[in-house]
């Protein structure tokens, strides 16, 4: 289909199925049950984050997975995309498409400049350069470019860039008829509008913003498969494998790496633009180095250099971040109620550090376990399981052969 081989087409349809049926798949427990409260993830806000961070990591994987260049400042492009989109909402109108396009263009330009400078070095020095530049962007957005008192207030500093009633919005309205801020929309379809379906005890929510993001994620995923399978993708893998051989084979490696850097920067800008489209508010914390680190973690969790890894990594990270932070002491007490009181209290006291505000700890441990036992990420885990079943099948076949 569309220039993909059979295996990739299947992979694409699996991801498409998961994305389009997510409101069902992520709501396995009936509404109102205690399990639903804890483990259901089928609400718009979280589903949007799944696919948007999916886009971000898919793009990051084109750079890191194929060329091996570890950018430690990718969140800068996410932030730049977010700010660009909000400016589009403030100045032009509330349609998300122009905002997303601007986000991609601006972050692409920044990626070209930052990449041109950073790619003078490779390895750890490249990572440090990208980290330093991203932190500069963060600090500028946080302070210099965001002073509300100055005439040149690009980012609105600490508060973050948000819509206001006196924005121009030349192609839209500054204020709605009832005096409120207009909402982001896709040619009239409001991002926040949802259709809810009641089936038995279950409640499924279909959100416009989610489906727009999911479709854009699928397009991004398709583009990334095409890049992986193109001669260009092969050149990028060759860069990772042996740059010396490339140079002596008549290939100039730098434009290849720069192109990969710009493409992944555009992906990040697209993700930023989508984040702002779902909620038109952009803050500097999106560019912080911890956000960049999270991108790296998501990519490694899923499986670097694999097609589906980024999607899995982003989903895994966002899902566990969400449920772990929802668990509080009260929930723990409920779960451990079967234990004798003393032990229960001790257990809760212990587990307290791993949930709620302590979610970082659990996620960190999970990350360590994956790195140590599954260096290829969740994809490697899946492959090992598949191999186990595959081997069983093979051994059955070999058993049959002598009988013939």
């Amino acid at each position: 289909m569309l220039g993909l081989n059979k295996k990739d087409t299947l992979l694409f349809w699996i991801v498409a199925g998961m994305a389009l049926l997510a409101p069902f798949l992520l709501n396995p427990f009936p509404e109102g049950s205690s399990l639903a409260q804890m483990f259901n993830a089928g609400y718009p806000d979280l589903m949007q984050r799944f696919v948007i961070f999916g886009i971000l990591v898919i793009g990051f994987n084109i750079l890191f997975g194929l060329t091996g260049y570890l950018s430690f400042g990718h969140a800068a492009f996410l932030g730049i995309g977010s700010y660009s989109a909000v400016w589009m909402f403030k100045l032009v109108g509330m349609n998300v498409i122009p905002a997303i396009l601007l986000a991609m263009i601006v972050s692409g330009i920044f990626a070209l400049l930052i990449g041109y400078v950073s790619l003078r070095r490779s390895g750890i020095y490249f990572s440090i350069l990208t980290l330093a530049i991203a932190q500069m962007c963060y600090n500028m957005a946080y302070s210099v470019l965001g002073n509300p008192a100055s005439n040149f207030n690009l980012t609105n500093g600490e508060t973050g860039l948000q819509l206001s009633l006196d924005d121009a919005r030349v192609l839209g309205e500054s204020v709605t008829a009832d005096g409120a801020l207009p909402v982001t929309n896709f040619f009239g379809l409001a991002m926040r509008s949802s259709y809810q379906m009641d089936v038995g005890g279950w409640l499924f929510t279909f959100n416009v913003g989610y489906y727009l993001s999911a479709i854009i994620m699928l397009i991004s995923f398709y583009v990334s498969i095409r890049i992986f399978r193109s001669p260009f993708g092969m050149m990028l893998r060759a860069v990772k494998s042996n740059q010396q051989r490339m140079n002596y084979t008549g290939l100039n490696t730098r434009p290849y790496i720069l192109a990969a850097f710009v493409i992944s920067g555009i992906y990040a800008g697209l993700a930023g633009g989508l984040l702002s489209s779902m909620d038109p508010l952009a803050g500097a914390e999106r560019m912080h180095w911890t956000a960049s680190g999270e991108i790296v973690i998501m990519a490694i969790l899923g499986g670097v250099g694999t097609l589906i890894g980024p999607v899995l990594g982003a989903g895994f990270n966002e899902y566990f971040k969400n449920i772990l932070s929802k668990i509080n002491d009260q929930v723990l007490h409920d779960w451990l109620a079967f234990m004798p009181d003393g032990i229960e209290n001790a257990m809760v006291g212990f587990l307290h550090y791993f949930v709620g505000k302590g979610w970082h700890l659990t996620l960190g441990i999970m990350f360590m376990l994956v790195i140590i036992f599954l260096p290829g990420g969740l994809v490697e885990g899946g492959q090992r399981i598949a191999n186990k079943f595959g081997r069983k099948k093979n051994s059955d076949e070999t058993k049959q052969t002598p009988a013939e």
Binding site: S230, F232, L251, Y256
Partner: protein, 253 residues
């Protein structure tokens, strides 16, 4: 006029004069060996041909054009391919992909943004790569992981990659270094076959006299950064100066 003309090349590293007054002329369609004891400056000289090092003095002309000041990829695009002392291949890619990259480089130049072209449509390149593998007797290995091959096969693949670009000059930097005897003999046979079947000029740096005398049409002996003699193999064998500087230690050959 040779295809590669080296005039008065000198190179100094701090206090060490690595090369001085190197004159060399490699005739088209011959195999020219550069030999010399350790530290004679053989590799330094080769690095001056491919853009890795910039000599302090002199000129290096390939087919009438200077190669000095050009980058390795530009020099490759001019028609010079290089085989390294330790085989440099794309270890993470499979053998067929390894073969395709130089063919793409030859066809598309130093950079092309073919991100949306489909590998399935590149029949021509795939066929050319497969043909080359067949010629080198590696067709069965096409889907093997390149890093997992033996040293001898890596060398064979590297030479195949260079040949697929149809270079006018092939530079070999100690192609049999660190190889088992059987692999060395296979490599010699392969190079002999290449020499006979193709219109190609070969410049080879080598330590192993067996390899040199089985292949070379012309030999330059380098000692302490200067060419001692340049002559045909028969004359080199018996040359007193050469014996003194170099062969004296390896009488057995």
């Amino acid at each position: 006029m040779g295809i590669l003309e080296v005039k008065n090349v000198g190179k100094r590293f701090g206090g060490l004069q690595a090369l001085s007054n190197v004159e060399l002329s490699v005739k088209e369609n011959t195999c020219h060996a550069i030999i010399g004891p350790n530290g004679a400056g053989k590799s330094t000289l080769l690095n001056c041909f491919v853009g890795k090092l910039m000599p302090d003095t002199g000129s290096v002309m390939f087919d009438g054009q200077s190669v000095l000041g050009r980058t390795p990829y530009e020099i490759n695009q001019m028609g010079i391919s290089r085989v390294f002392q330790t085989p440099e291949i794309f270890g993470d890619l499979n053998v067929l992909e390894n073969m395709m990259i130089p063919i793409f480089a030859k066809r598309d130049g130093a950079f092309r943004m073919h991100a949306f072209e489909n590998m399935l449509d590149e029949r021509e390149v795939v066929e050319k790569a497969e043909h080359m593998l067949e010629e080198m007797g590696m067709a069965d290995a096409r889907n093997d992981h390149a890093a997992s091959m033996s040293r001898g096969n890596k060398r064979r693949l590297e030479i195949a990659m260079c040949l697929s670009q149809e270079p006018r000059l092939l530079l070999l930097d100690e192609p049999t270094a660190g190889m088992a005897r059987a692999d060395t003999n296979n490599t010699i046979d392969l190079l002999k076959q290449i020499k006979e079947e193709r219109d190609i000029t070969i410049a080879i740096i080598e330590h192993d006299m067996h390899v040199v005398f089985s292949l070379a049409d012309r030999i330059t002996v380098l000692a302490q950064g200067t060419p001692l003699v340049e002559d045909d193999p028969e004359n080199i064998k018996g040359h007193p100066k050469v014996r003194e500087a170099y062969l004296g230690e390896t009488q057995a050959v």
